[in-house]
Subunit: 332 residues, 2 copies
């Protein structure tokens, strides 16, 4: 009798799951999306990947979806939020670094001189990140980010940065997970920055966040083991680095990729190349009224080649203005 019990209960479990799934399909899983070709493509893709016995059925273990973060899951204007964090850190750390008053790019950062800062290029930005993101333990750094997020406000919307996530994209994350997808963030941003809040605001656990990183070392300090952050680049998870990061961390090819800039081009290409159910999607920022409008000329989130080639590659281009009923969730 006892040995039969789990089998019978397992049947009830199965029936329960199937009935719930059937019920879920009757409600709109993407209520913040206007009906139109973008939404239709998403729904069709999920249906084809999950339909038992269908030609394009994908087993759950291979239902992997990758999302860029800046500009795809939350805003990235007037500058990447992590850059705002770095600039605030320069101000906090400045008293310990009197030389920064005359040394670039720190001088520009302290003076809010964005033009000089931008002119310092990638080399300048890397220097800035090293000076503000390294030299502490992983636990200490996470706490610094946590504290910053509590008080920092976006200059245009005057809201905490963590409230500036896109409601339609959060619905999409949930919709994919409900359909057995494992969702990853694959960002050019710093992995240890992202992991502080990814679980709370996106439901994505730390082990499903891939990003740029600096090197770390393991050290026992006063009998207490710690991960210490070093001022040395480890990995840049952007452009051709994104498929490399995906291969490094996941070890197999996703079937869906979501981005918004040319930094996501290779990730979209790598994901959508090949047969079977595939989805590539680009969020196009064309909504100056509710968010920002930018593409080919923007220093942050430049979208140029992606816009040219989306059509012939079969990638969905989402118009924030036309395809989304709302952009952010209402202020809490």
């Amino acid at each position: 009798m006892i040995s039969i019990l789990p089998v019978r209960l397992a049947s009830l479990v199965t029936v329960g799951i199937i009935a719930s799934a059937a019920w879920a399909q009757q409600t709109d899983p993407l209520p913040s999306w206007n009906d139109g070709p973008a939404k239709a493509r998403i729904l069709a893709f999920v249906k084809s990947a999950t339909e038992q016995g269908g030609r394009d059925y994908v087993p759950p273990a291979e239902r992997l979806a990758v999302f860029d973060n800046d500009g795809t899951l939350w805003s990235e204007q007037p500058m990447y939020f992590q850059l705002a964090f770095a600039l605030d850190r320069v101000k906090v750390l400045a008293p310990k670094h009197p030389e920064w008053k005359t040394k670039q790019p720190f001088k520009a950062a302290l003076e809010g001189d964005m033009q000089t800062l931008a002119a310092s290029g990638e080399h300048g930005l890397v220097e800035l990140v090293m000076a503000t993101h390294a030299g502490n333990t992983a636990d200490e750094f996470a706490q610094i980010v946590r504290d910053w997020l509590k008080t920092a406000r976006h200059p245009k919307f005057n809201r905490p940065y963590t409230e500036l996530t896109f409601a339609p994209m959060r619905e999409l994350l949930d919709y994919l997970r409900t359909n057995g997808f494992k969702v990853y963030i694959v960002s050019g941003g710093g992995v240890e920055f992202l992991r502080v809040f990814a679980e709370e605001i996106y439901g994505v656990p730390p082990e499903q966040v891939i990003g740029s990183s600096i090197k770390t070392k393991y050290e026992v300090r006063d009998g207490k083991p710690a991960i210490v952050r070093l001022p040395e680049l480890d990995f840049i998870d952007d452009k051709a680095g994104k498929p490399v990061g995906i291969h490094k961390f996941i070890g197999r090819r996703p079937i869906a990729a979501f981005g918004n800039s040319d930094g996501d081009f290779q990730m979209l290409e790598w994901t959508t190349w090949g047969p079977g159910a595939r989805l590539g999607l680009i969020v196009h920022h064309d909504d100056a009224a509710r968010e920002f409008a930018y593409d080919r000329k923007s220093p942050f989130g430049r979208l140029d080649r992606g816009l040219d080639e989306a059509g012939k590659r079969g990638w969905v281009v989402v118009s924030m203005k036309n395809d989304w009923k709302s952009v952010y969730a209402p202020a809490r």
Copy 2:
């Protein structure tokens, strides 16, 4: 009525899961383990981490367990299985490299001169790995490993390497997963070597395998995107590299670690330091009759400091001879 249905079914699901768990506890989850202190410690740890309302309860998302591979999940004598693969690859590739006939460490590899090979040290081994593991695409490399595993046989047991996994450890993997743990492999071995077979023989998907790696680049070859393997070290996932690898890939601290050599020392230290439910376990190879007996002096899987400090650090030392009813599953 429809809106109530999922709630009622959800209750049935919950009841089913709880009833199944209660039933599972009545059977022995570790039948290949003899009753004794090692098995008792494992059972007590899992109970304390999973007991709802208990002092040491750990939520499922934080139930992370990390396993070394060589010597912990499968054998590693008379040499690491991946080294046997590399030596076989040297033979296959030799016709294209006439210079290897006179150049070390390749000459030693071709002549089976293990003493000279060992004397070439880490530098020699790295050279060997670069020459045999790089220069192809990730897909090509995986196929080479797959083909090798089909025909290669262990010199002592004359069985495929993939059959030389430890039955008691595979039970332990299942037992932890049944109790809501997420199980990772954290190995000094090559991550792309391990990922070829980890899912099939351990049930561990590629994204839960952490290992040493060489650099790769993304390339579109003849219109087809590929990950190309470069002859350059990326990361050594051994000793102090193991906590670094865990932090890099998982981003939070596991609560259980399983190893067998001093290469696992820092992983055990990092995992077991701190309060709450923690388990550190070392597999001690003391079974010359059924497997191999080695520890402090072995070139592969040396266990010295771990043996000295396990007691004071509260780590379980498993005697393969006394704690395990069987070592391998019977030959198929």
